[in-house]
């Protein structure tokens, strides 16, 4: 009879190896070599080793599927917070940041401001140059705004052609300064569609968080300021 086979040479379970060695030693003992139970014992050992091996395989594969699920979950988490068109954070991500930063500002007594930035005459861009041009305007703006902000500022696509910028540790004067810069950057973007230059303008409303002010109220003030900037002709700041 053949030696008790392990399911695979590389199978390294120490208990299994030790059991295998003991069984093989027993079989070499004259008293056991022709014992009627020896064959059954070896069959039992084979079944045992096979099960061990099988369990290890199931466990490995199962772990693999679980890691796959975890990675999928992580990528969905990122996707659920990212605007697919521009690749910057979306409204949901911004709301989470706003809540956290508002709480931090109130706790530490540090200033906090937001900027509501809306693309001027966006509907006209879409109508005259096509939606693809409109999409490119949003992508270029998202990129340019992101590049010009400080590392701890947070910019998100808030709505259709609206961006919201969160400026921690920034008072109204500082926010107006950043807002001016964004208006300049937007005006300096050079985009063309069908051989014609696409005019890009940004109207920005700035608001600093007031004492005890709720998030909704802050957002509304920034929104109203943005509309004032638009009413004055766009490509400017109000707040």
């Amino acid at each position: 009879m053949n030696a008790v086979p392990l399911e695979r040479d590389t199978f390294q379970d120490p208990e299994a190896l030790s059991l295998k060695a003991r069984l093989e030693a027993l079989r070499e003992t004259p008293a056991f070599r022709s014992h009627p139970l020896m064959e059954e014992l070896e069959a039992l050992a084979r079944a045992h080793f096979r099960l061990l091996r099988r369990m290890a395989k199931i466990t490995r594969i199962s772990d693999g599927f679980q890691i796959q699920l975890k990675e999928l979950n992580e990528s969905l988490q990122v996707a659920s917070r990212t605007d697919p068109l521009t690749g910057i954070p979306n409204r949901r991500a911004m709301l989470e940041h706003l809540e956290a930063e508002l709480a931090r500002s109130m706790r530490n007594g540090t200033p906090l401001s937001i900027l509501m930035a809306d693309v001027d005459r966006f509907k006209q861009i879409n109508d005259s140059f096509g939606h693809e041009a409109g999409d490119r305007v949003l992508q270029a703006l998202a990129q340019a705004l992101g590049d010009s902000l400080r590392g701890y500022d947070f910019c998100a696509r808030w709505g259709g052609e609206e961006f919201l910028v969160l400026l921690p540790d920034t008072d109204r004067a500082g926010a107006l300064e950043v807002a001016e810069k964004l208006v300049q950057i937007a005006g300096g973007l050079e985009l063309s569609a069908a051989g014609a230059s696409v005019p890009v303008g940004l109207s920005v409303g700035a608001a600093q968080l007031g004492p005890g002010e709720a998030l909704d109220a802050l957002l509304q003030r920034a929104d109203e300021a943005m509309y004032r900037a638009k009413a004055r002709g766009g490509s400017q700041v109000a707040g």
Binding site: R54, K57, R60, I61, S62, G64, F65, Q68
Partner: protein, 135 residues
């Protein structure tokens, strides 16, 4: 008794179980989808029974096509039971083959397919889905 006496088996995919097509006349068993049924043993029992019956009936070749994107632990065990049946038939000289389709976009899918193939000697093709999608 001829091969065609074995009933075909068709299970529609559900949210937690894969679609199963077993065609005796074509010698084809196909399982596609995600598998995390509450009771994987109950789900896969008819599939294993069909396979055993097919292999017992006659010498016809059997091709098994698997396209499984997710398997819970008990479904993994059932798939290994299925593969054991196929391996045993192959060892007995039967013409059986297995094709495992995977999503090449998924970095881990190929590794998992190879884990399944390990220890088996029957023809086991691992096929990127984009290159040869199932109809």
């Amino acid at each position: 008794m001829s091969r065609t006496d074995l009933d075909d088996l068709t299970l529609e995919a559900t949210a937690s179980s894969p679609a199963v097509e077993a065609r005796a006349a074509q010698g084809l068993l196909r399982i596609r989808g995600e598998a995390y049924p509450e009771n994987a043993f109950a789900f896969f029992s008819p599939v294993l029974a069909w396979t055993e019956a097919f292999l017992a009936k006659g010498p016809a070749p059997l091709r098994v096509e698997l396209e499984l994107t997710y398997l819970n632990t008990s479904s993994i065990k059932s798939m290994m039971d299925l593969m054991d049946l196929l391996q045993e038939a192959f060892d007995g000289g039967r013409d059986v083959g297995l094709a495992w389709f995977y999503d090449p976009e998924n970095d881990r899918a190929l590794d998992l397919a190879e884990e399944f193939r390990e220890d088996l000697t029957l023809p086991f093709d691992i096929v990127p889905r984009a290159a040869e999608g199932l109809p």
